[in-house]
């Protein structure tokens, strides 16, 4: 297990390094970063001084090395818009996105898991069909469109929730549903298929033969074992939420990382963009590792296998 873990950590570091190259190439492909600072009062001396200060007059690989040395210390450079270190700009937006992600996660688990269990125990009946159709609808709904339709229904027509912004719990509901919708559908499918498989196994038949009541078999014996796959997936969802957050935060004007990312990309604020991309990649890799470890804790066969 330790050896395997070490290998995985090493592989993750390699992936992170590859991501840094990708980000560097993208940010330099837009041209010399000095062009973003230049104004009609810039002198040739200033231009050269900047070049020297940031190593921009050196060959590209050296520039990369200089840039990477900063990145390793979480120094992505100053944000062009805020004139503070990019990492600070990003950190300020983290609470809003975390709050939204948590809301979406609660919605996804609260809706997806119970419906999945329900669909599994009513397998083959009309209820199962309803559950599966719900899952298919959820996975086919474009997030941006769902958000706009929610606004149309609940903000414009019925005036129940605000159409955007971040002010109190009330403003959180529509964006959370939008962001969690896809995940809820995915969790429903996974819980259903995984529970069906477990319900079919020998130890469940034994429990039933022993006379354990039906609800207890499902909720205590089966679900515990059936949750391994959904938990793995839920962990990955938490990171996949960032991509969804870009769209959701755009629709609801939610002041989080997703919106910051969009604004920074269109504003050519590459220090912030690289900070977000690399931090998101790192988060994905860490969660992946944690999920693997959790997997081993939940299922002894994997730990010792």
């Amino acid at each position: 297990m330790t050896r395997l873990l070490l290998r995985r950590v090493l592989a993750s570091l390699v992936v992170l390094w590859l991501a840094s190259i990708l980000v560097f190439v993208l940010s330099r492909a837009s041209g010399d970063p000095r062009h973003l600072f230049i104004s009609e009062y810039t002198t040739k001396e200033q231009w050269d001084a900047w070049g020297q200060k940031f190593g921009l007059d050196r060959p590209k690989p050296v520039q990369y090395a200089i840039w990477l040395r900063g990145v390793v210390q979480l120094d992505f450079g100053e944000s062009l818009r805020d004139h503070v270190p990019s990492i600070v700009t990003v950190a300020r937006k983290i609470p809003a996105t975390l709050q939204l992600a948590l809301g979406a996660f609660l919605f996804a688990v609260g809706v997806g898991v119970p419906l999945g269990v329900f669909a599994a125990i009513t397998r083959g009946t009309g209820w199962d069909l309803v559950g599966r159709t719900f899952a298919l609808i959820g996975q086919a709904m474009p997030g941006f469109w769902l958000g706009i339709m929610l606004i149309l229904t609940f903000s414009v027509r019925w005036e129940l929730f605000p159409a955007g912004g971040r002010a109190g719990l009330n403003s959180m509901i529509l964006p959370s549903i939008t962001l969690g919708w896809f995940a809820a559908a995915a969790l429903l499918r996974l819980t259903r298929s995984s529970l069906l498989e477990v319900l079919d196994s020998e130890f469940i038949k034994l429990a039933r033969a022993k006379g354990v009541p039906g609800w207890k078999v499902v909720w205590k014996h089966a679900l515990r074992n059936a949750m391994i796959v959904p938990i793995t997936y839920a962990g990955l969802l938490l990171t996949g939420l960032l991509t969804g957050a870009v769209v959701t935060e755009t629709v609801f004007a939610w002041p989080g990382i997703g919106r910051l990312a969009i604004q920074s990309v269109f504003g050519l604020d590459f220090p912030v963009v690289s900070a977000i991309v690399l931090l998101a990649t790192a988060a994905y890799l860490v969660v992946n590792l944690l999920v693997d470890i959790l997997y081993g804790v939940l299922d002894p066969r994997i730990r010792h296998g």
């Binding site: 940010s27 298929s193 991309v277």
Partner: protein
């Protein structure tokens, strides 16, 4: 006096037909297949089906509501029979744009699917068959494409290189190949240790011959099923990119950008966003349904994916 209601012969026949229709609907994906057929017909015959130019509007016909609604609440303009689903702020016919949008959506999804599946499968076969350093490089690149937040990289690339069809297609291919590479590599690992591959190697068959004659037939099924499951996802992703303004370049009609353009008018002119989004939803729903159906029929082992 008690009257026993006997169903008349006509009713019984109708019930029989209804029951048979219901059984067919449950066994075969009739409705999703119909949706896909409509989509393909729209894509092929767009120039003849669409009544109006999808790019050029008549500004005097802007904000026309759908035919069943008398007037637009904001401009007070009356609906016209020639604009069945209404018009957008530039006076372009929504239905014509949706029909043309089908052509763009399908063309992009098809191209990406082809290159992603072929490229990903080739790399997966090579990685699984030759193992070693090559395998390591390919799989770390797979991890990279899964770990990096795709939407942000796509946004940055479009901002840097400018929007074009070629770029959108390349980005989506870069996003989609890794799934095939992973699955095909796993299959290849299984196949390369089978007796028939060992025998082929002993008789002196070249790697190319083994891969094309002995490994390839074993992975075709997996690839086809994966591809069918991915169509919907691709259409959704392309729509999200177009929604954010970095997908299909304007003024070409893309469903995603139509939803985005209608967003500012959502409180008064709902039809601008509703119908294009509905088109995305229906098509993705149908594609996912067909994909699931194909998988269950041809490759039950992939059920967990």
């Amino acid at each position: 006096m008690v009257t026993v209601v006997q169903p008349s012969t006509g009713l019984r026949v109708a019930l029989g037909i209804g029951l048979r229709a219901w059984r067919t609907l449950r066994r075969y994906p009739v409705i999703p297949a119909l949706i896909v057929i409509v989509l393909v017909v729209c894509a092929i015959f767009a120039p003849w089906l669409a009544q109006h130019d999808p790019r050029l509007g008549n500004i005097f016909d802007s904000d026309r509501p759908p035919t069943w609604q008398a007037t637009s609440p904001v401009s007070g303009k009356a609906s016209k029979p020639e604009y069945i689903l209404g018009t957008d702020p530039l006076g372009r016919d929504i239905l014509s744009r949706i029909i043309w949008g089908a052509r763009y959506s399908l063309a992009i999804a098809g191209t990406v699917l082809f290159f992603g599946a072929v490229g990903g499968s080739l790399l997966g076969m090579v990685a699984g068959y030759f193992r070693g350093a090559l395998d390591e490089v390919i799989m770390r690149t797979v991890d990279l494409t899964l770990g990096v937040p795709f939407i942000l990289v796509a946004l940055a690339s479009v901002v840097v290189f400018g929007a074009s069809f070629e770029l959108v297609i390349s980005l989506l291919v870069a996003y989609s190949w890794s799934g095939y590479a992973r699955a095909v590599r796993a299959e290849t690992l299984r196949i390369r240790v089978t007796d028939y591959v060992s025998s082929a190697r002993i008789t002196g068959a070249s790697a190319f011959r083994i891969l094309s004659r002995h490994v390839l037939p074993g992975i075709v099924n997996t690839v086809l099923v994966l591809a069918s499951l991915q169509v919907g996802q691709l259409i959704l992703t392309e729509a999200a990119l177009s929604f954010l303004g970095v997908g299909i370049p304007k003024p070409s009609p893309a469903w995603g950008s139509m939803v985005a353009e209608g967003r500012d008018y959502i409180s008064t002119s709902y039809w601008m966003s509703l119908f294009p989004g509905l088109a995305i939803f229906l098509v993705v729903f149908a594609m996912n349904f067909l994909g699931d159906w194909l998988r269950d029929r041809f490759d039950p082992r992939l059920r967990q994916l």
